[in-house]
């Protein structure tokens, strides 16, 4: 307790010397994920240290995206800090809409940010958003069900093993489904999973001339494999399940395996929320032997829109929220399992954090994703589970709806792919490629 106060006082002093003396109120738009809600609860610490007040605008992911995009493109100036992802940052940075973050003080230790995260949140080597937390994806599985099926999960399984295990674990009469995967339409939902998975199967979105590749046999293999697997071993209504729905199913003990964001690990191992907390283990996302795994790379990051009147206070907030000290603060209040993961390398050297069961696998997953070389064949774009061009969100939402309809059995995989190919070609033409 004494230590904490002394530490707080020292931090206050150092910040006071660098910041202006004005106390301001900044408005922050953020997503309603657990880590952000925790951050809101700790805002008092920031106010105590800097004197600045914070107004939160917390929205569901899709609403948030739509809201901040409208505001930044029209220069509405409603927010001093926006929570954005790896997809938006380079595009907005390129347009000059974000304040560069290359002048952060030495004690912030910007070199401590994981290189993959820093690279993904930069444009032209300039950092435009600071990662609040980063994630990849991995397999979370039930050790008891795996044992019951007489199988043993390797650290780096293949898709063939995963499919086999999923079918073996399934017991539909008792509502045990071997595998839960995203099926809900959306570029950040089923398309994130399927694009990352297609990388492992050797598929790609575009060839080097920006021609859509949904007519390739690799995509056909990917989509058929996914649909067959979920039909045999997935939960009912999988075509409506996104991250939250699957998390809820897994926590209720209804999924044998779940391949999704690494941040989910802290939720499924939390005994307060999860009925299977002590029966979960982790493995790398599967591959098919083609040297690319099915895991993605993502960060939720804090960025300052250019033109805000409160740039100074906003920067102070970002330094506070993405600092090493903030991680310590969360650890002190909520335990090490609940600190925002995946942003800083020092976290993974911390002995306290190493003791957390999923920390090692999370780091391995993050390190094995390469946004610059995401696919087996060469591509003109960056991004593992997305294509970092402004048109992607719109195209992928529609493609996602076709794939979701195919999963629901309303059309065949081939029909869905043909429609995806047609609409992607149409949209890319409209955008002038």
């Amino acid at each position: 307790m004494y230590l904490k106060n002394a530490f707080g006082a020292a931090a206050t002093l150092s910040l006071l010397m660098t910041s202006s003396a004005f106390a301001e109120t900044i408005t922050i738009a953020t997503v309603n994920n657990g880590d952000m809600i925790r951050m809101q609860g700790l805002t008092d610490d920031f106010t105590a240290k800097t004197g600045h007040e914070v107004e939160w605008v917390t929205l569901e992911e899709n609403v948030l995206r739509q809201r901040v995009t409208t505001d930044i493109t029209t220069k509405g100036g409603q927010f001093d800090i926006m929570t954005i992802g790896m997809y938006e940052t380079p595009i907005w940075g390129k347009n000059g809409w974000l304040v560069p973050l290359n002048d952060l003080p030495a004690e912030y230790d910007v070199d401590d940010i994981l290189p993959a995260m820093r690279g993904g949140l930069s444009y032209d080597d300039t950092l435009f958003a600071a990662p609040f937390y980063g994630e990849s994806s991995m397999i979370m599985y039930r050790t008891d069900l795996m044992e019951k099926a007489g199988l043993e999960m390797p650290e780096a399984p293949t898709w063939a093993f995963v499919a086999n295990a999923a079918r073996a674990m399934t017991d539909k009469d008792n509502e045990i489904y071997g595998i839960c995967l995203r099926g809900k339409a959306g570029w950040g939902e089923n398309m994130a999973f399927l694009t990352a998975t297609s990388n492992a199967f050797g598929a790609r979105w575009f060839d080097e001339n920006w021609t859509a590749q949904f007519d390739s046999k690799e995509w056909a293999t990917t989509l058929n494999f996914y649909i067959d697997l979920l039909n045999d071993a997935g939960p009912p209504g999988a075509s409506n399940n996104g991250f939250n729905e699957n998390l809820s199913l897994f926590q209720q003990g209804k999924c044998g395996m779940w391949i999704d964001a690494t941040v989910a690990a802290s939720f499924v191992t939390n005994p307060d929320d999860s009925s299977v907390a002590d029966k979960v283990d982790f493995a790398l996302a599967p591959d098919t032997g083609l040297d690319r795994r099915s895991n993605w790379l993502w960060a939720w990051a804090l960025a300052i829109p250019a033109g805000t009147q409160k740039e100074g206070a906003a920067k102070e907030f970002i330094q506070w929220a993405t600092s090493k000290d903030y991680i310590e603060l969360v650890a002190e209040n909520e335990g090490w399992a609940n600190v925002p993961p995946g942003a800083r390398s020092s976290l993974y050297e911390n002995p306290n954090y190493k003791a957390v069961p999923f920390s090692e696998m999370t780091l391995k997953s993050i390190l094995s994703a390469d946004p610059l070389n995401p696919t087996v064949d060469a591509v003109p774009y960056v991004g593992v589970q997305f294509v970092a061009i402004p048109e992607f969100a719109g195209i992928a939402s529609q493609v996602g709806q076709e794939f979701s309809a195919a999963l629901a059995g309303q059309q065949t995989a081939e029909e869905a792919l043909a429609k995806a190919q047609a609409l992607t070609t149409e949209e890319m033409e409209a955008a002038g490629y």
């Binding site: 995009t69 493109t73 029209t74 209504g237 075509s239 969100a393 719109g394 939402s397 629901a408």
Partner: protein, 288 residues
């Protein structure tokens, strides 16, 4: 009848409303029409110059256009049919003598007060979820395989949610109309030995004609632009992409304001076709 003086007074009294609505219509409409002739991509630098009718051609020639018009009409038609039919039955029921009529009426009108977002969230998660939803429990109880409502019966599910919200409105207007019915006329017909069905067909239903037109007109105006119910439940997947939702995708997801604006102009045209159609019927009915 009215004097010159009262006419000019009337004009002055109407002016604020007319001017405000004219502004509210013209300013966005002009800007929408302007944008619709431009290549306007906010994420690629905004206004990229005039493109003539390109956006209009592209919007209609997209494979998503006609299905979206069709879905819009199916949803509006479905909700109107359900709310009017059930509304008449419910109004007849509520008009009967019973104990606790006030409380029943309160129960029946309650859905009208619920925000569309909330009602969509509640239906989607707590009723239609194929694993934890109440319907799934009910189906399992009777030994049936739970239905995954929002993908297998997506349009029906949305019609159901929206009908639930609008049924109270229809019921209330129809109830008021039934209560205004001349009870002597009904009693006389009962004396004459008319069957309940005949009384309903020859006396009650014609009397309700006007009320039904009003319900149809007002609801259509609101239903043509339903958005929250689809946004929360299916995000336009599984064939539930209405024209409004298609425009939303063009403007906000694809960030193509020019194309979306062209879609907006089409939506206004569609709305006006439907409106003109309705007005003819309503106009006739309201004049009489």
């Amino acid at each position: 009848m009215a004097t010159q003086h009262s006419r000019s007074a009337a004009r002055i009294m109407m002016a604020p409303a007319v001017i405000l609505l004219l502004g509210w219509m013209l300013v966005p409409l002009t800007m929408t029409v302007l944008f619709s002739f431009k290549k306007y991509l906010p994420l690629r630098g905004g206004d990229l110059g005039w493109v003539g009718f390109d956006n209009y051609v592209r919007f209609v020639s997209s494979s998503a256009f006609w299905p979206s018009v069709q879905v819009t009409l199916v949803i509006v038609g479905g909700v109107l049919a359900i709310t009017v039919a059930l509304g008449v039955l419910l109004a007849l029921l509520l008009d009967q003598p019973m104990w606790g009529q006030g409380i029943v009426r309160i129960l029946v009108i309650a859905p009208f007060f619920v925000m569309p977002t909330v009602s969509a969230l509640v239906w989607k998660n707590m009723f239609m979820d194929p694993v934890n939803g109440l319907f799934a429990h009910l189906w399992k109880f009777f030994g049936a395989e739970p239905i995954s409502w929002l993908s297998e019966a997506s349009i029906q599910s949305i019609i159901m949610i929206v009908s639930w919200q609008w049924l109270p409105f229809a019921t209330l207007i129809l109830l008021t109309a039934i209560q205004s019915l001349d009870s002597e006329q009904l009693e006389a017909s009962e004396m004459d030995g008319a069957s309940p069905l005949a009384r309903f067909g020859y006396i009650i239903l014609p009397h309700l004609g006007r009320a039904i037109t009003v319900v149809v007109l007002i609801q259509t105006i609101f239903l043509l632009s339903i958005f929250a119910e689809i946004y929360v439940t299916t995000q336009g997947a599984f064939g539930t992409r209405t024209l409004t939702f298609l425009i939303f995708q063009r403007v906000l997801e694809s960030q193509n304001v020019g194309l979306g604006s062209a879609g907006g102009v089409y939506a206004i045209i569609l709305a006006n076709i439907v409106a003109a159609f309705l007005m003819r019927i309503v106009g006739k009915n309201l004049d009489s």
